[in-house]
C-alpha cells in the first residue's frame, strides 16, 4: 500500500463557502488536524520509536500536511494525514534501518484509517470544559498551580510569584512547561488510556 493519497479533483481545495485556497491555515490546522493528533500519536507509538523521535515525526508530518494545504485543502483530512504519516515512517525506518523491511510491510498492512475512532465533534464540544479540567489535573503540580492561579484566579505573574514564593522567572518556567504539557495532554494523549487506574 505505497500508493500516494489521491485528492478528489472535484473536492480538492473546495471549502464550504466556495473558496479554493486556505484563507486561514491556522484555523484549519487547529480545527481539522489537531483533533487527529491522539490517533496519530497512537499510530506513531506503534512504530517503537522513542518519544523524542515521535515528537519530531509529528512535527514533520504537520509540516507536510500544512505545506500541502497551502496549495489546496485536502479532503477528507484524516486519510490524508495518515497517509503522510505512514509514508514518512516507512521512509525513515528504511533509511535508519531500525526495523527490517518485513516489519514495514506489517506497517503498510495497518488499516490506519479505520482502527482508531475519530473525534466526535458534538461530544468534544459538550465535553470541552471537563477535558480541560482533566488535563489540568494531570499537569505537574507546580505548573498546575501557576496555570490555575493565572487562568482561574486571574492573578498576574508578580502576584503568582509572591504567592508561591518563587521568582517571576520560575513562574515563567512553570508556565512554559505547563503549556507544553497541556498541548500534549489535550492533543497527543487519548484520555481513556490515561484514566485506567
Amino acid at each position: 500500500m505505497t500508493d500516494k493519497f489521491e485528492i478528489n479533483p472535484d473536492e480538492a481545495g473546495v471549502i464550504p463557502g466556495g473558496g479554493v485556497a486556505v484563507p486561514d491555515l491556522e484555523g484549519w490546522f487547529v480545527d481539522e488536524v489537531l483533533p487527529l493528533e491522539a490517533a496519530l500519536m497512537q499510530f506513531l507509538r506503534r512504530s517503537g520509536r522513542s518519544a523524542q523521535d515521535i515528537a519530531d515525526l509529528r512535527q514533520e508530518i504537520y509540516l507536510r500536511v500544512c505545506e500541502s494545504a497551502k496549495r489546496q485543502i485536502p479532503r477528507p483530512v484524516r486519510p490524508f494525514v495518515f497517509t503522510i504519516a505512514r509514508n514518512l515512517l516507512i521512509d525513515q525506518m528504511r533509511r535508519d534501518h531500525v526495523i527490517p523491511i518485513d516489519a514495514v510491510s506489517d506497517l503498510e498492512a495497518l488499516n490506519v484509517a479505520t482502527d482508531v475512532p475519530g473525534p466526535d465533534r458534538n461530544v468534544m464540544a459538550r465535553d470541552e470544559l471537563r477535558r480541560v479540567r482533566v488535563a489540568l489535573d494531570e499537569l505537574p503540580p507546580r505548573s498546575r498551580e501557576v496555570v490555575v492561579l493565572r487562568r482561574i484566579v486571574g492573578l498576574s505573574r508578580e502576584e503568582i510569584a509572591t504567592r508561591m514564593n518563587i521568582s517571576e522567572a520560575t513562574v515563567t518556567k512553570h508556565l512554559v512547561n505547563g503549556l507544553k504539557a497541556l498541548a500534549n495532554l489535550l492533543y497527543a494523549e487519548i484520555e481513556a488510556e490515561r484514566r485506567i487506574e
Partner: protein, 324 residues
Amino acid sequence: MSDTRHAEDCIATVAEDQAAIWIGRQDHKSWSASDQKELDAWLEQSLVNSIAYWRINAAWKRTERLAALRPTVKGPVAAPDLVRLRALAKRTAAVTAVAALIGGGTLYLRQPAERTYATPVGGREILTLADGSQIELNTDTVLRISGGAGQRKVTLDQGEAYFQIKHDSAHPFVVSVGSRRVVDIGTKFSIRKSAQDFEVALTEGSARIESSGLRQERSITLKPGDVVIATGASLSVKKTSLRALENRLGWRRGVLIFSSTTLGDAAAQFNRYARTKLIVSGPAAQLKIDGTFVANDVAGFAAVSRHILHLKTHQNEDEIVISR
C-alpha cells in the same frame, strides 16, 4: 519518576519549546510592540515555527474556559475561594505520576543523551557504534544506548542481543540488565532477557558479570562456552560446546536450529518470532526434532509436523494447534 522531572522533561520539539516560551512571555503585561515584532519574525521564519505556535496556543486558549470557574465577585478573591482553588491547584502528586506512567511514559520522559532501539516481533537489526562495536538485536527487543562522551553504556530492557565489542580498557563496555551488569573484557557474547531472568552466553574473549546494586555477590568472569543464567537472587554457570552456542545464535542468520529439541521447546522458540502462535498440546510436546528452520516460518514448521511427524495441525485465527 518525580514530578519535577515530568516538568523538566516534557517531550517537545525545539520549535515547540520556543513556541511555549513565546506564549509564556506574551501572557505578560510587559509584552511590547517590539516583542510582537520579534515574535512575528520568528513565526515568519518557518512554517514549522508557526505550526508549533498554533498547537501550543490552541491548547492555551482552551484553558480560557477555566475562567468560567473564576469567582464572579471582582476585587480581592475571597479567602474560602482561594483555599478551594489552591486545593485544586495542589491535587495529589501521585495522581499525576500514575497518569504519566499510564500514558505510556512517553509524555514526559526525555533523556537526550540516550537513544532507544527496538525491533518488533520477527524483526532483527544490526547497530554499529562509533567505536566499531556491533550490536545485533533479535526479535521483540528493546535496547537503550547512552550517548555521553567516552561512555559505552547499553541497557537491555527486553529481548535478546548479540554483542561484538571492540575492547578498550580505558572505556569498558557495560551492558546493564536489570540490577546486574555485564562488562566486556574483549568479547563476543549474547544476552537474552526474559521477565524473570536473563542468560549470558560467551562465544569469544572474556566478560565479567557484576551486580550493580548493593547486593553482596561475587562477580563472575566468563570464558568461551560459558552460559550464565541469572535469576533474581542467583547466578549459575553451565559449560556448553561452541557448536551448541553457534546454534543458539542461528537467529543472526534468521534461522532456528534445533538439535534433539522437544517440540514444546521448539514451539516456544518460534513463538518469539511470529504473531501466529504455535501450541503443542498433549504428548506431542515431548517429541524431539532436529533441523534448521526459518525463524518466522511457523507455517513451514506446522507442515513438517504434519508430513514428517504425522501430527494433526489445526489453524485458528492467530494460532496453530499441533497435536497427535
